[in-house]
Amino acid sequence: MIADRFDPITGAILKSGNETETIKKADELMAEGRSQRDPDDMDEAISLRPQDWTYRVSRGALALERGDTKGMDEHLVVAQALASTNDKSKSNFAKQAIAELEGVKSTLRERHGKLSAVPTQCEALCRRLAQFYEMRGRQTGNADDLQLAKQYQADREQCWGQ
C-alpha cells in the first residue's frame, strides 16, 4: 500500500523486487533451456514472463530444430507482435531470430548432412530466414542482408530437391 502514495511509475519501481526476481529466475531457466536444448525449461520461463519476446524466439527456434514447424511459426508470430512496440525491439528481434535460426541450420546440417534430407524443416527454415534477413536489411539498409534474403528464397525450392 505504501508505494500507492507515489505516482504509478515510482510506485512500481519501489515494488519491483518481485519482478526483478522473476526476471532473474526466468532468465536462468531460459539460459539452461538454451544450453541444454530443453523445451520444458524454456516453457517455464515463458510462463513466468509471457511478454518477453526473446524467450519466444528461442523457443520457436528449438521447435524447428525438433521438427515442429507449426510450433516455430506460433512462437515467432507472437514474438514478432510483442517486439513490434518500438524500432529498437524490431531491430533486436530480427538480429536474434537470424542468429538462432542460423544456429538451427548448422545443427540440422550436422545431424542430417544436408538440409534437403528434412524438407519440411528446410523449407520452414529458409522461409523464415529469408523473411528476417529482409526485415533486417530494410531496417539497416544493409545490401548484404537483402541479398541473403533473396538467396534463402531461392533455397526454399531446393529443399524439395527441385
Binding site: I2, I9, T10, L14, S16, G17, I23, T54
Partner: protein, 232 residues
C-alpha cells in the same frame, strides 16, 4: 400500527450483512486479494511486463566494469515502461549473492565512475529516464530501495542542483527492522575508521528521515535535509 423494529427502519441483520460486505470489500483491496489470486496484475507487473533491454544493461555494466568496479552481487536491469517512453535502470545490490559495499571499489573511484556514467552518453543513448538501487540483505529481501530521475542525478553530478534539491527528487522504501540490523552490522565491520564508514551514518540518517512509518515496519522516504551527510 405496528411499531417498526430494527436499525434505521430495516432489520439489524440486514445492516450487519451490508457492513460486513463493505468491510470485506475494503479488506480485499487493502490486502491485495485480486492480485494474490491473479485476477489483477500487481502495479510493478503491469509497468514492467515487457522485455528487458538487455543490450542497455550490458552496456552499462561494461562501462562500470571497464572503470574498475567490482560488480559481484550486482544485477542490473533496464526495464522499458509499458505504454510510456523510456526505461528504468534498476541495480539490485544483493548481499545474499555476494554483494559487499566495501568490495565494489575505493570510494573515490566509485563516485567518479558513477558520475561519469550519469553525465556520459550511455544512459541517454538507451533512454534510461529513472535510476533505482535496491539493496538486499543476507536473506535476499529488500532492505532499502531508492529511485530518482536520471536527469536530476545528472544535474546533481554536474553541480547544477544542491543536495537538498536532489534529496527532494529521491523517493524510497525502507524495511526499518532490516535496515537497523544492517546498520549495526556495518558499524561493526567498518570499525568507524574505514573509508566506507559513512555508510552506517548515511543509512542511520535515512532511517531518521523516514517521515511516515506504517504497518509491517516499512517506511517511505521522501527526502529532507537529513540526507545531506550521506557521502559528503
Amino acid at each position: 400500527m405496528a411499531r417498526r423494529r430494527g436499525c434505521f427502519g430495516c432489520g439489524c441483520w440486514a445492516m450487519i450483512v451490508v457492513l460486513l460486505l463493505l468491510v470485506g470489500v475494503v479488506a480485499a483491496f487493502y490486502y491485495r486479494v485480486p492480485q494474490r489470486l491473479g485476477l489483477r496484475k500487481a502495479q510493478a507487473q503491469q509497468v514492467f511486463s515487457g522485455t528487458p533491454d538487455r543490450e542497455a544493461a550490458a552496456a552499462i555494466q561494461e562501462e562500470l566494469r571497464k572503470g574498475g568496479l567490482n560488480l559481484q552481487g550486482i544485477a542490473l536491469y533496464v526495464l522499458p515502461l509499458e505504454g510510456e517512453e523510456g526505461s528504468v535502470g534498476i541495480a539490485v545490490l544483493d548481499s545474499s549473492r555476494g554483494f559487499d559495499f566495501m568490495r565494489v571499489g575505493e570510494r573515490d573511484l566509485v563516485v567518479d565512475r558513477l558520475k561519469k556514467l550519469v553525465t556520459g552518453k550511455t544512459l541517454e543513448e538507451h533512454d534510461v529516464e529513472r535510476l533505482a538501487a535496491d539493496y538486499r540483505g543476507q536473506d535476499g529481501k529488500s532492505v532499502v530501495i531508492l529511485t530518482a530521475p536520471t536527469e536530476d542525478i545528472k544535474r546533481y553530478a554536474e553541480g547544477k542542483i544542491s543536495d537538498e534539491e536532489l534529496v527532494h527528487a529521491v523517493k524510497g522504501r525502507v524495511d526499518v527492522a532490516a535496515l537497523s540490523k544492517e546498520v549495526l552490522k556495518w558499524r561493526y565491520l567498518a570499525g568507524g575508521e574505514s573509508a566506507w564508514s559513512f555508510w552506517p551514518w548515511c543509512f542511520s540518517r535515512a532511517l531518521a528521515a523516514a517521515p511516515r512509518l506504517t504497518r509491517r515496519n516499512y517506511g517511505t522516504l521522501s527526502g529532507n535535509g537529513s540526507w545531506k551527510t550521506c557521502g559528503r
